[in-house]
C-alpha cells in the first residue's frame, strides 16, 4: 500500500459537468441539464491507483473525460501538478496531453480501422514531434514488445486482432508519450474474464516499471479491489465514499457502499449461503432531475428526514476515509 502523504499528482476540486438538453429547430432553448458529475473532489497521489466504481450512468466515465478536458467542466477545477487544466486551452492544453493518457473501454471502437498498428501507436509520437520516421518505428516495436505483442505486427490492421490484443495495442498507444497519469476507462469490462486478468496484470507490471498513476474506472468490484490502492464509490454524479482499499471493503460506512458490496458473490458455497444481501429498491433516479438533499435517499434503506433537506457534506470520518452521509 502506498504512503498517504505521497506527492499529489492530480487534484480534482468540486468538479461539475452538466450536459444541456436543448430543444428547438433553429432557435434552440436549453430546457434542462443532465447532471452527469455534480461536485466531485478527490486527490490522486503519484504512483497510486485510485479505483472509481459505480453503476452504469453514474458519471464515472464523464469524470474521467472531464479530467482530461475531453469535456470542458461546467465548473470546478482540475489541477495537474498545480496547473489548472480547466482554464488552459489550445496549444498549452495540447502540450499537457502528453502527461495524461487514457485507455478506453471498447477495444473494437477505440482503434481506427483504417490505420495500421504502427500508425496507431506511432500517432502520438508524430503529433508531438517526438521522433522521426525511423525512430517512431523502433519505438512502436519496443512498445509492442512491452505490452506482450510482437513487433512484427507493425504493418497489420486492428481487425486482425482479438479483443485482448487490441486492448494491449490501446495500452501501447497510451504509453507512447511516457505519460504520468493514465485514466483507465473500464479497460477490461469488454473483455473475456480470462483476458481481463492478463490485461490487469499487464497494467500492474507497467505501473511498477514506469511509476504510473492510474485512475481506474470500473464497475467490477473485485477487479477494482485487486488493482486499487484507494477506492471511490460514485452514485448519480457524486462521490459517496472514498477510502483505502482495505477500509472500503472491510469497513464500508455508506449504506450505498454496503449495498454494493453485499451484491458481490463469494466463491465459497458455505460463505455464499450466509451472505446477507441488501437489495436496493427501485431504479437510479434520472440525472436530469436528481433528488434533493442526498442523492441516494430515494433508495437508501436508512434514510431519514434530513436526507431530503440537506446535501450531506463529504467529510473525513476517519483518517483517509471520506463519506457523504448524515448518518455516519
Amino acid at each position: 500500500m502506498k504512503v498517504e502523504s505521497a506527492e499529489i499528482l492530480l487534484r480534482v476540486d468540486n468538479l461539475v459537468k452538466h450536459f444541456p438538453i436543448k430543444r428547438g429547430i433553429i432557435i434552440q432553448k436549453t430546457i434542462g441539464a443532465i447532471h452527469a458529475v455534480d461536485g466531485v473532489s478527490f486527490n490522486i497521489h503519484k504512483g497510486e491507483t485510485l479505483g472509481l466504481v459505480g453503476e452504469s450512468g453514474c458519471g464515472k466515465s464523464t469524470t474521467g473525460r472531464t479530467i482530461l478536458q475531453l469535456y470542458r467542466p461546467t465548473s470546478g477545477h482540475v489541477y495537474y501538478n498545480d496547473i489548472d487544466l480547466s482554464t488552459i486551452k489550445g496549444e498549452e492544453l495540447r502540450k499537457m496531453r502528453r502527461k495524461m493518457q487514457m485507455i478506453f473501454q471498447d477495444p473494437y471502437a477505440s482503434l481506427n480501422p483504417r490505420m495500421t498498428i504502427g500508425e496507431i501507436i506511432g500517432e502520438p509520437l508524430v503529433i508531438h514531434h517526438l521522433a522521426d520516421k525511423k525512430g517512431t518505428q523502433a519505438r512502436v516495436e519496443d512498445l509492442l514488445e512491452l505490452v506482450g505483442l510482437s513487433g512484427r505486427f507493425y504493418n497489420r490492421f486492428p481487425h486482425e486482432f482479438s479483443g485482448g490484443q487490441r486492448q494491449r495495442i490501446g495500452v501501447a498507444r497510451a504509453l507512447a508519450v511516457n505519460p504520468d497519469l493514465i485514466i483507465c476507462d473500464e479497460p477490461i469490462s469488454a473483455l473475456d474474464v480470462s483476458i481481463q486478468a492478463q490485461v490487469v496484470n499487464l497494467l500492474e507490471d507497467l505501473q511498477k516499471e514506469f511509476n504510473l498513476t492510474y485512475l481506474f474506472i470500473a464497475h467490477d468490484l473485485s477487479m477494482v479491489r485487486h488493482i486499487s490502492d484507494r477506492v471511490a464509490v460514485m452514485y448519480l454524479g457524486v462521490i459517496m465514499e472514498l477510502a483505502t482499499r482495505y477500509d472500503l471493503y472491510n469497513d464500508p460506512l455508506h449504506p450505498y457502499t454496503k449495498a454494493l458490496l453485499s451484491a458481490v458473490p463469494i466463491p465459497d458455497p458455505v460463505a455464499e449461503e450466509k451472505r446477507h444481501r441488501t437489495i436496493l429498491k427501485g431504479d437510479v433516479p434520472s440525472p436530469v432531475n436528481p433528488p434533493s438533499g442526498c442523492r441516494f435517499r430515494t433508495r437508501c434503506p436508512i434514510a431519514v428526514e434530513i436526507c431530503a433537506q440537506l446535501k450531506p457534506e463529504f467529510r473525513e470520518v476517519k483518517p483517509g476515509h471520506w463519506v457523504a452521509c448524515h448518518l455516519v
Binding site: 429547430i25 433553429i26 434552440q28 473525460r65 482530461l68 475531453l70 495540447r94 502540450k95 496531453r97 502528453r98 495524461m100 493518457q101 487514457m102 478506453f104 473501454q105 471498447d106 471502437a109 477505440s110 482503434l111 481506427n112 480501422p113 483504417r114 490505420m115 495500421t116 498498428i117 500517432e123 502520438p124 503529433i127 508531438h128 505490452v147 506482450g148 505483442l149 510482437s150 512484427r152 505486427f153 504493418n155 497489420r156 490492421f157 481487425h159 486482425e160 486482432f161 482479438s162 485482448g164 490484443q165 494491449r168 490501446g170 498507444r173 508519450v177 492478463q198 496484470n201 499487464l202 500492474e204 507490471d205 511498477k208
Partner: protein
Amino acid sequence: MTQPVSLENNEFGAGGRPISVKGESLFRDSVRRLARNKAAVVGGTIIVILILVALFANVVAPYPYAEQTLVDQNKLPQWVLSLFPTMKPYAQLSSDYFIGADYVGRDLFSRIIFGARVSLTVAFIGPLISLLIGVTYGSISGYFGGRLDNLMMRVVDVLYAFPSLLFIILLLAFFRSTFAHPTPGTFTYTMSQLDSASGGLLFIFIGIGLTAWETMARLTRGQVLSVREKEFIEAARTLGAKDGRIMFRHILPNVVGPLVVAETLAIPGYISTEAFLSFIGIGVNPPTPSWGSMISDGAQVIRTYPNQAVFPALALAITMFAFNFLGDGLRDALDPRLRGNQ
C-alpha cells in the same frame, strides 16, 4: 506478479494458419471482394472500354461525327433491316454504315462513339463537383455540429425543395437567349462564350453541380456524425491531435466508402439528366453528338426508322447499367459487415 501471457505471439494463428507479417488493409480486402463480384466486374469492364473508346474516338470511329453525305440519308445495312423488317418497303440499303446513317447522312455508329465523350464527361465531372462541394460542406457541418450544423442543413433543406430541372432550364434560357445579345465584357456574355466553347456542356455541369451536391452533403454529414462519436476519435483527441488531423486521418478515411458507393450509383442520374436536357433541346449544341440529342432526333422518325432512336438508347442503357452494377458491387465490397466472406 505473473508476466503478461503472450499466447498471441506464436507463429501460427487459429487452425495452424501462418500469421502474415504484412496485414491486409480493409481497402485491399474490398478490392479482392469486388473482383469476385461478376456483375461488378462486367460493369467495370464496360466502363473501362467506354472510357477508352471515348478517349480514342478519333481512331475508333469510322467517320467524323459531323460529316454529312446527303445522298446517304437514312440508309441502313442489311442486318439492321432484318432486325426491323417493317422498313422493307422504303429502306435504302448501304453497307457503308454499321448501323445506318441519320436524316442528313451522318454515320450513327460514329456519332454514338463521339456521344460517349459527352456522357462520360458528365459521368466524371458530376461526381467531381458534387463530391468537392458536398463532402466539404457536409463534413464541416457534421464535424463542428451544433448551431452551425443546424443552420447549414436548413440551407440544404431549402435548396432541396427547389425544382432543380426547372432551374437549369431557366438558367439555359437566360444565358442562351438569342434575343439578349449580351454586350461583350459582361458576365452574361462571358458565360455564353464559355458555354459555346465547351459545346454547350458548361451549363450542364453547372446545372448538375448546383443540385447534386445537396444529397452528398446530407450523406457526408450523417456519416461524419456517426464516426465522430467513435472512441478512436476521442483517443486521437486525448493524444493531442488537432481538428485537421482528426478530420483527414481519422474521419474521412472511415466515411469514404459509403460516399463512393452513393456517388457511383448517382452517376446514371447525371448521365440521364444530360440526356434529358439534350433530348428536350437545351443540352449540347449541334452538331456535337450526345446520346440524348440523338435519341431526340431519332424519336422524330421512330416509326419509319426505329434504328436511329434504338441504338443511341441502347448505348445509354448499357452505360447506365454498367455504372449501376459497379455501384452495387462497390456497396457489397465496402460493407464492413460482409468482410471476410466469399
